[in-house]
């Protein structure tokens, strides 16, 4: 099943429309543990093509146009069901997704519900950020360099973002209802801290799909659990 560009594990499919696994946090929390918190660390090796989003072949252009940098497209690792009792979300903050060299930077932004995301334009050309996602549909209109517009993401889910002027620009905003998620760095490393003892399903999301899930267990004594994923 594909929803807003994202595939969810089977048991979450009935969960509605926009639900990324974090929604399940509110619906199906696991029992609260009393042991020491642990951490999940690991790597996600992406062996799929990482080429930049291609512009449509510009057969109608008088020239090639500006060359764009290759986008870094990280993965997002998260707990499919949040630990019971972990109801306290960090206070929603502010995040930014820049528009630079006709690319959204970062390509993937993972935030908690309630976060306001700024979309500044750092290019010499106009941009027009919009999304048709069920989680958050919006259209910021056209604005120029130095200007910024903001969107508050008040529902969990995946929001795919585009530019109405530059068809090759796309990005993802993943909105979680809990804070047990991490975006991989350039080396593919991730770390999720403060995870209470218990068994969890760890999911790896990349470019619109959940690529792999795995059960991990944080012992009562806490500690760090290692997990390594390979996305092909």
């Amino acid at each position: 099943m594909q929803m807003d560009g994202t595939r969810f594990p089977g048991f979450l499919r009935p969960a509605a429309a926009a639900a990324i696994p974090a929604v399940a946090f509110w619906l199906a929390c696991s029992p609260l543990s009393a042991g020491a918190d642990g951490a999940i660390r690991g790597t996600v090796e992406i062996r799929r093509s990482q080429s930049a989003t291609a512009a449509r072949p510009a057969s109608a252009g008088l020239g090639a146009g500006p060359r764009r940098p290759v986008e870094f497209r990280p993965a997002v690792v998260y707990l499919d069901k949040a630990p019971g009792g972990a109801f306290e979300l960090p206070r929603p903050g502010r995040a930014a997704m820049d528009q630079r060299d006709q690319t959204f930077v970062p390509h993937v932004l993972a935030i908690t519900v309630g976060t306001i995301v700024d979309f500044p334009n750092s290019d010499l050309t106009f941009h027009n950020v919009f999304s048709l996602s069920k989680t958050k549909a919006f259209d910021l209109g056209r604005y120029s360099r130095g200007k910024s517009k903001a969107v508050r993401f008040d529902r969990p889910g995946v929001v795919q973002v585009f530019c109405d002027i530059h068809s090759h620009m796309s990005a993802y905003v993943l909105v979680f209802a809990h804070s047990f998620f991490a975006v991989t760095d350039q080396a593919g490393a991730f770390a999720i801290a403060g995870v209470p003892p218990g068994s969890y399903t760890l999911a790896v999301w990349h470019e619109g799909e959940v690529r792999e899930t795995r059960t991990v267990t944080i012992p009562d004594s806490g500690g760090t659990v290692e997990a390594a994923f390979v996305i092909r």
Binding site: S51, A55, P57, S59, G63, D139, D164
Partner: protein, 407 residues
């Protein structure tokens, strides 16, 4: 409306591309991006559209004798093969009802400087003149019809000419099927001021940063009659300068001059005065956008010189002024509304019964909406009201809907 097998073949090709195992995972998803192979060195994009509109007994929307812009099925595939960072080969193949399969574009692009300030393109290339013909129709066209400057068929033909002003005036307001006594005796449609349905063949140079860029081309055809093979041993020079003083605004000026009349006409009347065979055009275009608004327009002053033959003679070049202005406002992330106003006016000739415009003045107002079903899938609906100062049908109100998919 004739529906040949070719469009289905290309539509099948597009469908096949959706399932092709490219770098983008397209096998299980409806792609929103071009399909790429070889690490992005081979890009394939495609589009398909189905347009259904009212019968057009006044031929206001026809792009040739058989094809109405509001009643056709079209599919296209665009391929860009990047041999290196500096050299690319591009081709666009289109198929549509009534026309068949056309290699709309095929050319090589060389970008000799790493800065990207210079590009040279050779082959069947995009037109330098104006802006509309380079919009990758139909997704860059907020409405369904095309501006009259780029679509409306006048009574001028490159391969047949009137011997007298009276011959010309008899064809007034019926550019869809024109017959003249000199040149090709078969009836055929006339030409628009600037062709957007076909591209010309030649070489083009573009210089400058996006803020101020210039382009010049030399091609074998003319603005009205782009060609693959030359039919008159004369080419066309076209140039354009575009200025973007601020991102919200751009203005461009274009000019073109080329040999228009085919050699077959000159051979039919060797007594014709030499040199009366050119099309000249000058155009101004502007675009402005802010917030949810996009406004743009073009104005073109054009003339075709045809040889003066028999009395009453056509003394001066056949001139036209045409322009359009269009606006689009996005009302919702999925919904926009758009409107375009068009006018075409023509100069006069003196026939046996007096002085009158050589072609019937024509105007159009088109307005409509577009609904985005999902990225890459758009539905449009529009109403086209046409008025013409002559011809069999002088006013016509048409409706059309279009479904459009692209990646």
């Amino acid at each position: 409306m004739r529906l040949g097998p070719c469009p289905f073949a290309v539509a099948g090709l597009v469908a096949g591309l959706l399932l092709a195992p490219g770098d983008v995972a397209v096998a299980q998803h409806w792609p929103t991006e071009p399909v790429t192979f070889a690490g992005g060195r081979l890009l394939i994009g495609g589009d398909a559209s189905v347009t259904f509109g009212s019968e057009d007994p006044g031929w206001f929307t026809y792009t040739d004798y058989e094809t109405s812009a509001i009643r056709r099925v079209r599919a296209g595939v665009t391929v860009e093969a990047r041999a290196s960072d500096r050299v690319s080969f591009l081709t666009e193949i289109r198929a549509e009802t009534g026309v068949g399969v056309i290699p709309y574009a095929w050319y090589v692009r060389v970008s000799p400087l790493a800065s990207g300030l210079v590009d040279v393109q050779a082959g069947r290339i995009p037109p330098v003149f104006g802006t509309f013909a380079r919009r990758s129709y139909p997704q860059d066209n907020p409405l369904i019809g095309s501006p009259q400057t780029y679509q409306y068929l006048t009574s001028v033909r490159p391969d047949a000419v009137p011997a007298t002003a009276d011959d010309l005036l008899k064809m007034k307001g019926r550019g869809w099927l024109v017959k003249y006594p000199v040149g090709d005796p078969e009836p055929h449609n006339g030409v628009p001021t600037a062709a957007a349905e076909r591209w010309d063949t030649g070489v083009q140079l573009r210089i400058g940063p996006p803020a101020l860029e210039g382009a010049m081309s030399y091609t074998v055809g003319s603005l009205s009659d782009p060609r693959v093979r030359d039919d008159n041993q004369g080419g066309q020079v076209a140039a354009r300068v575009a200025w973007h003083p601020v991102p919200a605004f751009s203005i461009g000026v274009s000019a073109a001059r080329g040999v228009f009349i085919a050699d077959s006409v000159k051979q039919a009347r060797p007594d014709a005065r030499q040199g009366d065979d050119h099309q000249r055009a000058f155009g101004v275009d502007a675009e402005s956008s802010w917030g949810r608004w996009l406004i743009r327009g073009e104005y073109v002053v054009n003339s075709w010189a045809i040889p003066p033959l028999d009395a009453p003679r056509i003394v001066d070049p056949l001139g036209s002024h045409s322009g359009y202005a269009e606006a689009r406002i996005r009302l919702h992330p999925r919904l926009y509304a758009a409107v375009r106003g068009d006018v075409m006016r023509f100069t006069t000739v003196e026939g046996s019964s007096g002085v009158e415009t050589w072609e019937a003045d024509v105007s159009r107002l088109e307005y409509g909406v577009g609904i985005t079903i999902r990225r890459g899938l758009l539905l449009k609906a529009s109403v086209l009201s046409n008025w013409r100062d002559g011809g069999r049908v002088q006013r016509s109100h048409l409706g059309a809907v279009q479904a459009l998919f692209w990646f």
